[in-house]
Structures are given as C-alpha cells and as structure tokens.
Amino acid sequence: MGLARTLAVRAATLVVLLFIVLFVISFALAGPASKILKDEIMMETKSIIMNLMLHGHYNSTQIQQLQTQIMTELESAYGLNKPPAIRTLYIMYNMIVFNWGYSYFPSEYGNVGGGKVVDIILSALPGTILLDTFGILLSAFIGIEIGLRSALKYGSKSDRAVMYYAALANGIPQWWLGIVMLLIFSFYLAQMHSPISFPTGGIISPKYYELWLTDPVKVFTIPQAVLDLLWHFTLPLITVLIINIGSWAYFARTVVLNISQEDFVTFAKIKGLPENHVVNRYILRPAAPSILTSIFITIPFIIFGGFLVTEMVFHWWGLGYVYNIAIVGSPTPDLPVVVALTYASTLLYIVIIFIMEIVYIMLDPRLRE
C-alpha cells in the first residue's frame, strides 16, 4: 500500500510541476512576450500578402482589406484579442491537447508535416532517443566499470589518472568537444584528402533524409541506410562517450570509496575474508543501488543539458537541433516551435523521471516495503 501511495504522491508532484512550467511559459507568452507575438503575426501577414500579390491580381484597397482580415484572423487564432488571463488559459489548453500550431518557417525544417509543430517535434524524437540511449547507457556501463576499478586501487597512479580525466571530462563542454571532433575528423581529414573522413553533420545522408523524417523505422530495413546512419552516428557518439564516461567513473568511484570505509567492510577484512569476496559482497553490492539511482536521476538532466547543444553542433536531427533552428536558424525566433519544444521537453523529462523512480523503487528493497 505504501508503495502505491509513494508513487501516487510522486506522480502528483510531477503533474503539478508540469502544470507550473506550462503556466509560466503560457503566461510569459500571453503577457510580457505578446509584443513579440504581435510582431511575428505582422511578419506572417506580410509574407502571406506578398504571396497573394505575386500570384493574384488585387488592387490596393483589396490588399488592405485582406491584410486587416488576415491580421484579425491570426490574432484571434493566437488569442491576442482576449485579455491576458484568458489568453494564458487558452495557450495552456492548446498545449495540453497537443494543438501546437504551425511553424513560422516550415522550410527550415524541411517542411516536415507541412510545418505542423507536433509533427516537427515528433520527427525529431527518434534522433534524440537514439543518441541519448546509446550515449548514456554505453558511457554509464564503461564509466562505472572504470570507476569501480579505480576506487579499489585508491591512491594508485591509475586512480589518479581517472580522477584527472574525470575533472577534465566534467569541465570540457560536450558540445565544444563536438566542434573539435568535427574540425579534426571531418574538416581536416577531408582537407588532407584522407580516404576516410566523417560527415560534417546531419543524422543521415540527404537521400535518406526524407525517409528518416517520415518513417524512421523503415530506415532500419535498408542495410545501406543503416550503415550510413552509423557513419553519421560515430562522431556524436564518441564525443558523448568521452565526456560522460568521466562523470560516471568519478561518481562510481566516490560511492565505492564511501562504502569501503564502512565498519562492516573493515570488519569483513579483519575477519580475514578473501579480498575479492569482500569487494563483491561487502562493497559492490551495497554500492549498486546508490549508483543506479544516480544514473536514473541524472539521465533527464544530462539529456536536457549538454546533449541538446551537442545535437546542434552535429546538426543531428533531434530536439536540440530543432531548438537551434527555431532560435538562430530562422530569420526571427520561431516562437511556436520554441515554446512547444520547451513544453515537450518538460513533458518528456517528467515521464522519464517517473519511469526512473519506478525502476528505482523496484530495485531498492528498502523502499518496497
């Protein structure tokens, strides 16, 4: 019964969190930022009018009428003709029902889904999932292994090396390492006419791009396309691994060091138990839940921190890169995309946190009671 209650409280907290974030964004958009929205509407109207003038024959009064008509229609579509409080609720409602509107600059995203923001974001999810899953799981696996070994040899040369590596890996911005990797393994290798050089970015070659955006599962049925994807995947993955292995190693090392100082470990040693028995039974076992928790809890932070920016550097078709296009790739900030992305990220983020907490509770017997 206690477990169900804990989970219910947790779920409630997370839903409240989502609502607060949603409210704050919607309020910002409805109140202080509505001027930006108005400017955007003006721009959008102008581009529509330009199109009409290019393709049809209208006189100036007709154009004027059309402009005011489009303006008022757009303003009511964005709810700008309502008071801020109503507008906030209106934006919140649209967010919740996934009515995220249309991008101002659909061509910047390859016209995915005709510029529908939901479709743009959905098309970016597989890329993010691919990079984040492999990046985090592989780095955690390797990093924890390194951390355990280094903790058991506390104070040795290799332990010190691991520590300095961890300090560097924590201090180097992941996306900057990505830039350096691209410079070396893409630009300079190509410039030296090396037979092997990596792509300058992107998730897949242009000929498969269309397919990836519409039906990513189908890409995995074409062997050449899979190889091509892996080729594009190499540099981002290596970048992510170099940085994240260090953090995991340092983290695992600290946990194991803490536990190996516990009285029961000292006692086991005094009892004369064999060394690897002490390590496996008395140190690693109690360390495991603590390490796992941290993995689970940090995953959302890692994804929505460094990974986003790394995707931008590699033009990797994921949430981060879509953010990048919406902020700096477009002539003006593509507000519907930026706002929907933030909401989608928060949603995804709390879903991940909730799943991680369930897994954690299942792993830790003390919490199950």
């Binding site: 910002a28 924590n170 180097i172 900057w176 929505f304 550097v313």
Partner: protein
C-alpha cells in the same frame, strides 16, 4: 590583567584550520588546483588592467577593428609552417620630407618592406588622424610609386585623401593602374577580379603564365600633395600607414577583425563573475532554506523540502532557453534565473548537516542550559557548516559557467562584453567549422574548460576535508 585567557582551540569538523590547509595541500590535486587558481586570478587581474574600462563599446565598434584582417590566423603560425602568410605591418620606419613650392606642400614618405611570404598583404591603409582633413575645400592628394624587386615600377594614384582611413587597393584608379601594369608587362588583362582589392597584385608576378609571389624588397614612395600653406594637416604624428596582413596578433581575428586575444582576455573577468555570482546566490538561498528547514523541523521542514524537490526537478536549461528568447534576457538575467532554479541540491546538503549537528549531545546540553536558538546557531552550528558552505560555493561555479557558455553558444543571453560562449557562437555562425578557423574555436572552449576544471579540481581536493571518510591513505 592577570586573568588567564581561556584557551579554546578552534576546530571545524574535528580539524584545526591549519590541519584543514594541510589536508587540502597534501594531495596532488590540491597543489595543482591551488597553482591553477593563482594563474586564473592573475590572468583575470591582468585582463582588468590591460582592457580599457570602455572595452565593451570598443569591442562593438566595427570601425575600431577595420584595419585588422578578417579571419586571420595568429601571427605565430608562420614560425610553425614557414613564411606563408604576410603579417600585419604598421609602418613606423619611414623617411619623411616636406617641400613647398608655389603654394603646394609636397610630403614625401618613403619606406621599404621585405616581402618573403606566399600570401601577400591584402590591403594598404593610409590613416590620417586629423579631422581637419575631412573639411578641406580641396583635399590632399596621394600618389604612390612602388619599386619592385625585379626592377619594375608601378605608379599609382593620385587619390584624394578626404577621410580618416583611405583604403588604397579598392580605389578604381589603383585597380585600373594595376591592371594596366600587368597588361603592359605580362600581357595579361584584367588581373584584378571585380570587387577585389588591387593591393595583393602589387606583390605578384607572372611566371610561366601563372600568378606567383614576387619576393624581395619593395620600396614605396608616397607623395602627398597638400594644396594649402597649412602643411601640418598631415604630419609625422597623425599619419599611419598599415599593411593589412593575413595573420594577426597572438590569437588571430574573427569575421569583423576583432583581436581575439583581447576577446579571450575579456572572457576571464566576465566568466569568473558569472560563475561566482551565480554560485554565491545559490549558496545563500541554500543556506537559508537548509538552516530554516533543518533547525525548525516539523511542518516548515516538510514544506521547504517539497519546494526543494520541486526546484531540483525543474528542467532548467529548456526554461532558460525559452525565457531568453521570450524576454531577450541578458547574461545577468540568465545568471539570476539559473541561480534561482539551482539551489536545491545544495539546500539538501546543508539541511542534512544541520540535522546531524542538531541531534548532538552538546546542543542538547546547551538547550538545557537555557541557550537561545540564535546563540546555538551562531556558536555551534554556523562555525561547523562554514567549510561546507565554501565547498558548495566551489562546486556550484563550474555548472554555472558551463551552462552560461552553452546558452551563449546558442546566441542567447549575450552581453556587451564578449564571452567565450559568444565567441564560439559567432565562430559557428560564420563557418569556422567548414573553413577550418581553428584559432577561433579551440581557445575559447579550452578556456571555458580551464576555468571549470580549476573549480572542479579545487572541489575534488577539498572532498577529504568535508568528507572524513575519504581522509586516509
């Protein structure tokens, strides 16, 4: 005054301050981080001294940088790969002669330059730092004769000198004169591509039908004709002649010709300020929340811990992005926002510490003896958590620096002062990756990493102090 002073040893976490210092410096990380820290502080102070107080407006004034080459690698590149790129040259070593005849003043400026590079100077600038020049009814006129190493001679001009900076090679007279020279000498027509400067072609020759650099000593004769008795409008003090090179300074230049060395230096104080300010706010909030929660307990504790959980869960980075876009935040707004959403973990640590201290026997005795809460806080609790406060201060700096660098890299939350993240943003925008401008992308990222690593190492070295379990070996 014979009363014996009560000897009380000051101890924190069971250690005297000197023991703490000893513990910190006993590890190699402690020594290295202290050394790096000193370097960091010295460089930041140097930056504050070297950079003018109005550096932000200087940096954002394109005119200030117009004499510099754009996208130029550092000058020391030539010592690595041989004399390839011509360096930026400010001509100081010239002979200067004034003659007057029939109301016209002739100023003759002569100098030699030794050209031994593969890529010639891209432009010649004549700078007259005298506003009187702009408003003269008849501006002075410049004519230039270049004596080339192969014995040939190009005569260029006359050009009117009526602005502060005269860009020599883009004047149409100069272009047609250089074209004419190549036509007569080598029978090649229209050597200067449309829209380009003629200056580099002064340093070329045609060899086997191919354009090749003509190395050797060039003699330049500049003659200024000033059509008034007031010959002092141009004089030794206000005349500058600059050969724009293809390399520049210690760290090269960017798309606007900014001296990146200065940009990188400016990053030190601002990055430190950003990191320290945000860490300071985080720790202040964390200490207040932690003390109140841990000390009062009960419902206060419960609700504050709910709040803390909440703040920990906030997706800070996406929110920072969306607010920076919506409100056009500056870097300082971003710092404050980041601090307000980042204190959660630190508050938890402080609270846990206080809970632990609170349950100690001596606190109980103090309460029984009638000590007030404030007295206990001041005398028993605060001294014990000071090292933790310092530790948290150090651990919160790198996160702030890295996040701010990331948001700057997206072109958001900028400042007038150049930051390393902004340098990287412009580098990415202006094709540093596709054109290989390594000097524009490697140093800023290295410096971000350097500052972050200094603080991370300091935190690592202080871990044995704050975590007694790591105090062995």
């Amino acid at each position: 005054m014979s009363m014996a002073k009560k000897q009380r040893e000051f101890r924190i976490l069971g250690m005297t301050p000197s023991e703490i210092t000893k513990e910190f410096f006993s590890s190699s990380t402690g020594k290295i981080s202290a050394a790096l820290f000193i370097i960091l502080v010295v460089v930041s102070m140097y930056a504050l001294i070297v950079l003018p107080p109005n550096f932000a407006s200087v940096w954002n004034n394109p005119k200030y940088w117009q004499l510099n080459p754009q996208y130029a690698p550092p000058a020391w590149i030539n010592s690595l790969i041989g004399p390839v790129y011509s360096p930026q040259v400010y001509v100081h070593d010239y002979t200067y002669a004034v003659q007057q005849q029939n109301g016209v003043t002739y100023i003759t400026v002569t100098f030699n330059v030794n050209y031994e590079y593969d890529k010639p100077w891209s432009e010649i600038f004549i700078v007259i730092n005298n506003p009187a020049i702009y408003s003269m009814p008849q501006p002075p006129v410049l004519s230039v004769t270049v004596y080339r190493p192969d014995g040939s001679k190009i005569t260029l001009g006359p050009l009117p000198i009526n602005s502060r900076v005269t860009t020599f090679g883009v004047a149409s007279e100069v272009i047609s004169q250089v074209n004419l020279f190549y036509n007569e000498e080598y029978h090649v027509s229209s050597i200067v591509p449309t829209g380009s400067s003629a200056t580099p072609y002064i340093f070329y020759t045609i060899n086997n039908g191919k354009l090749t650099p003509l190395k050797g000593t060039y003699k330049f004769d500049f003659v200024f004709y000033v059509f008034s008795q007031n010959s002092s409008v141009i004089n030794r003090n206000n005349l500058e002649i600059v050969l724009q090179g293809q390399t520049y300074g210690l760290m090269g230049t960017d798309n606007e010709g900014h001296d990146l060395w200065l940009g990188l230096l400016a990053g030190f104080p601002i990055d430190l300020a950003v990191g320290l300010l945000s860490a300071l706010i985080i720790v202040v909030i964390a200490v207040i929340i932690g003390i109140v929660a841990g000390f009062y307990g009960g419902l206060t504790d419960e609700s504050l811990m709910r709040l803390t959980d909440f703040v920990i869960l906030l997706p800070a980075f996406p929110l920072l992005i969306v607010f920076s876009v919506l409100f056009g935040w500056s870097i300082w707004d971003a710092v404050i926002f980041l601090a307000i959403v980042s204190w959660g973990a630190s508050a938890r640590i402080i609270r846990a510490m206080i809970m632990q201290i609170r349950s100690a026997q001596y606190i109980e005795s103090a309460v029984i003896a009638g000590a007030s809460r404030m007295w206990i806080l001041r005398n028993h609790i605060l001294p014990q958590i000071i090292p933790y406060i310092l530790y948290l201060l150090v651990t919160n700096v790198p996160g702030a620096i890295l996040t701010l660098a990331s948001i700057n890299f997206l072109g958001l939350a900028g400042s007038e002062y150049p930051t390393w993240g902004m340098l990287l943003y412009y580098a990415d925008e202006f094709g540093a990756l596709t054109s290989g401008y390594w000097w524009w992308v490697i140093p800023p990222g290295l410096l971000v990493a350097f500052v972050a690593v200094v603080f991370i190492l300091t935190a690592m070295a202080s871990e044995p102090v704050v975590n007694p379990r790591l105090r062995y070996g």
